[in-house]
Amino acid sequence: MATRAKINLDYEQLLAIISACQLVPERKCIRLALDCEELTGNPVFDCLNRFSGVVDRQALQNSLSGNVVQVLFSKLPMHYELLQRIDGDSVVTEVNRLVETIGVNLVMIGFSNGYVTALALVLRTRFPQEWNKFCDFSERQQWKIDIEQAGTRSFRQAASGFHREQVQNQAVATNEANEQSACDSVAGRVSEAEGFTQPAEPVLKERRKSELEEEDDDELINGLVTGTANNTGGRAHQWSFRKFGLRR
């Protein structure tokens, strides 16, 4: 009963959140996105959606530690203000609580599903205002949290953080749009000149570079998860530098 009071959600609602946070591999998005396509841009939804992809790529077989969850947060392609103020341990605690409440092990809930749901529950209690906006957008009113119950302190923090994140996300979205338009224009010029329909070479190079970086991170996180991190490799050192804010 204490667990339920903490989570403050009915069992059925909790199950609905778990199902909504299930990654659909064919669509590369969580199941909730299939119902509500207009959710993109909502900070809570973006956090969950991106985090599900990152966790799923790890192909987890065991539980994660708080440190690894923290690393996964940092691995997200966009830096979310909300996630920067969440520690991995709280997500791990929430996972354990979720397993206890539902009454089945993490394998049945699904490893990535469990961690994404736990993140959703942490976001719900830490940033109630954003969570309620997310519920409004996704038309899941029953998932809302009582803001007064959640506490006014976190409410104020969340409000300021949300504003900063919105600005940041808008800037990132603008950059992506500019990049996309540049790509389109370059590709259009190339196709007009040479009769090809492939994207321009500079854009392809940029994409390959980012993909390589993602692969590097995947290897390192896999090492952390399995406990076989290769500390002697060059890539590991590169990652360590980045972790501590140093340039390569």
């Binding site: 069992y11 199950l15 199902s19 659909v24 539902i102 009454g103 089945v104 049945m108 809930i109 699904g110």
Partner: protein, 240 residues
């Protein structure tokens, strides 16, 4: 053909265990062959369909005994009986599996918290078969618990304990106040008016009499059988 019948006394204590596992085909139910997600996700998505299947199974079995109760109205009544409106009080707090007593007896929580779920393989068919079977078992548990007080009442009606007296008031009054017994013919007439009760009552009195007077058990069995035949003849005279 002979079948080996095995009865486990402990299993009989839980009426849910009397329900044999159902066999379902995911294709005919419109379910995909794969889980398409985790076990919990699959069960959550298909729960409304599985619930309908469980209710259909229950109604089909019920209409074997009561063919006139097979419509939507009966199904609504069944759902109400299984809902939180008809929760039954918990009598034994130490019982670990009493979750079906309150709330919706067909809810998914009971399926997920069933210990046997850990033994089910992660495939659609065994999973949905287990879920529907577990729902039906919980429905049986709830319905059997709901019918217990009614069954006790039926037993009391059978024993006629609900009647204030089995003898007409004027006969009882004449005996209690005026110390006047009815004639043998009047007594026989009163007993034949309520033959079922008096057959049991006279048998009981006859047994008490035999217990005191007949020391040999074999002889007592014979006397008892003779008494029963006499009772049948005595009470059936009027009917014939």
């Amino acid at each position: 053909m002979r079948h080996h019948l095995k009865v486990d006394g402990l299993r009989i204590l839980d009426i849910g265990q009397a329900v044999s596992p159902v066999q379902l085909n995911p294709g005919t139910l419109g379910l995909p062959p794969g889980l398409d997600g985790s076990v919990v996700d699959c069960l959550v998505r298909w729960y409304p369909r599985l619930r309908t299947v469980a209710l259909d199974c229950l109604m089909a079995q019920h209409s074997l005994l009561f063919p006139y109760e097979d419509g939507a109205e009966a199904c609504d009544r069944l759902e109400t009986l299984l809902s939180d409106r008809c929760a039954v009080p918990i009598q034994d707090d130490t019982s670990p599996d009493g979750l079906w007593r309150h709330g919706d007896a067909l809810r998914l929580e009971l399926v997920l918290k069933a210990p046997a779920l850990q033994l089910v393989s992660f495939e659609t068919q065994p999973l949905i078969e287990f879920a529907v079977t577990e729902m039906i078992r919980n429905a049986y548990r709830r319905l059997h618990t709901l019918e217990c007080p009614l069954a006790e009442w039926f037993f009391n009606v059978f024993l006629q304990t609900s009647q204030p007296t089995q003898i007409p008031l004027d006969v009882l009054y004449a005996h209690a106040v005026e110390q006047a017994r009815p004639t043998p013919a009047e007594a026989a007439k009163i007993m034949r008016e309520n033959a079922i009760f008096w057959k049991a009552e006279l048998q009981s009195l006859g047994n008490q009499y035999l217990l005191v007077t007949v020391p040999d058990p074999k002889l007592m069995t014979l006397q008892n059988a003779a008494l029963y035949q006499q009772l049948k003849r005595f009470l059936a005279e009027e009917e014939v």
